[in-house]
Amino acid sequence: MNAPQQAYTLKHPELGTGPISTEPNISPEYFEREREQLFKKCWLNVAHLQEVPKPGDYVVWDLAVLNASVIIVHGQDGQIRAFHNACTHRGNKVAEGRGNSKGFACGFHGWTFNTEGNLAFVPDEGQFFDLDKQCLGLKAINCDVWHGAIFINMMDQPRETLAEWMSDYDDTLGQFPFQEMELMGCWSADVGVSWKVFVDAFQESYHVGFVHARSVPDGFVTQDNPYCHVPGFRLFDYHRATTCPANPKHSLWPSEAVAMKQGAMSLTAGGLTEEGYPGTNPQKIEDFGFDINVIFPNFFQDVSNGWFFSYNFWPTAHNRTLWQVKLFTLKPKTPADLVSAELTKVVLRDAIREDLNTMESTQQGLDSRAVDTVLFSDQELACRHQYAVVENFMNRD
């Protein structure tokens, strides 16, 4: 579908229509405010349940924006928890990477914690004074799970529960059959760009006909919709969502034809089924591609028929971001299903490398202060929304 001219932004007068300052993307001071007032106060996705499926499974993330190293662990009791990765003896890290373990032994002096975080063993314990092991477990971080996505919150008492925080998505994303999906692809990159500029690149489809001119334009851009207009926006207090259309008349490449005969849904033909998946395409548009669901501030879950992918944007400086994408498809049953999913993987992976190509070049332009504002069209309303709600969140009481 081709959107009418300037149909959406004017419905949100609080967002205005004017230029947006580049300061939030080039200022170290602004980033320090974000660190303290946003990232340390927000629910943040750190892993998917499938990355720690069994008791004892753990993954460690060093999160520069939180000034913290975090252990996410599936306890022997079945509960998912998060802890500061710091020994309560003298502060050394007790775990790294990922794996499966009955507990975490500090490499410095052998203090050992179980998967529930309790201090289980202190070598030469009798030499310590007034040691209360009950109170010396790993320092817990608030942790909860929403439909398979594991979140942490660094506040002692988060202002809202994760369920409350995610409730804007109960009717859409919350209905998606995440439990039918399996992690098939994972890619990461360390990119010299502000996390918000990075987010912007994936929440508008104006770029598709240009950045992806050689790869997937026939999948999304049509004569009727040459600029890949989205059919509207769902703007929430902080989160935001839109729907990327696809080309229903996309002609399949030979490899796509092989994959789709097996039941896979290609990125470029994501929505071309009779009946959509639950939780997708809330506007029921005929040329549905996939939904872009931005979970404020730095997490995406983009869903379609038979697959979804997630992005995590972890700033390490005002102009540097550690980024990760994970692709999930329907659980494979036969080796042929792996081949079919591989097409979806490779097309997505290669197309994203095209997206990333503009990031450092954009940041360099901003850092040069050649421009001090940027412009967002009606079709880039999600980008405009981001700058307003980052500021709104940081000004919450």
Binding site: D190, S215, T334
Partner: protein, 117 residues
């Protein structure tokens, strides 16, 4: 590794030693280390075999995949790896893109799905 394919795939047997990999990172590395002519040659040899390969690979549950079928699987995965080079870009690697050496491939190996209980 055992590279012998079932008899019905005799025509692609010569490809097995050089193009069969369980890991996406290894497949992508092989693609980028090959010339376009080599990639086109592999693609052209595989393409007529893909339908029968998919039918054959559909005959096994993942956990019960026999060794000779794994090699067929690895080659079929490699076909998908090079498909964007041949069908989209007509170049070995993605043109005008973020550098491949800075783009980490962390996907689970195909073997993970055939051993996970």
């Amino acid at each position: 590794m055992e590279y012998t394919l079932p008899d019905q795939f005799n025509e692609i047997q010569p490809l097995a030693e050089e193009w069969a990999f369980a890991d996406e990172a290894a497949r992508n590395h092989k693609r980028r280390a090959s010339s376009m002519a080599e990639i086109q040659g592999f693609y052209d040899a595989m393409r007529p075999q893909m339908d029968s390969a998919m039918t054959y690979l559909n005959g096994f549950k993942l956990a019960d995949t026999p060794e000779e079928a794994k090699t067929v699987l690895y080659l079929a995965l490699m076909f998908m790896e090079v498909s964007t080079a041949v069908e989209m870009y007509q170049e070995v690697d993605v043109p005008e893109s973020f550098p491949a050496e800075r783009y980490n491939i962390l996907s689970p190996s195909a073997d993970h799905f055939m051993t996970a209980g």
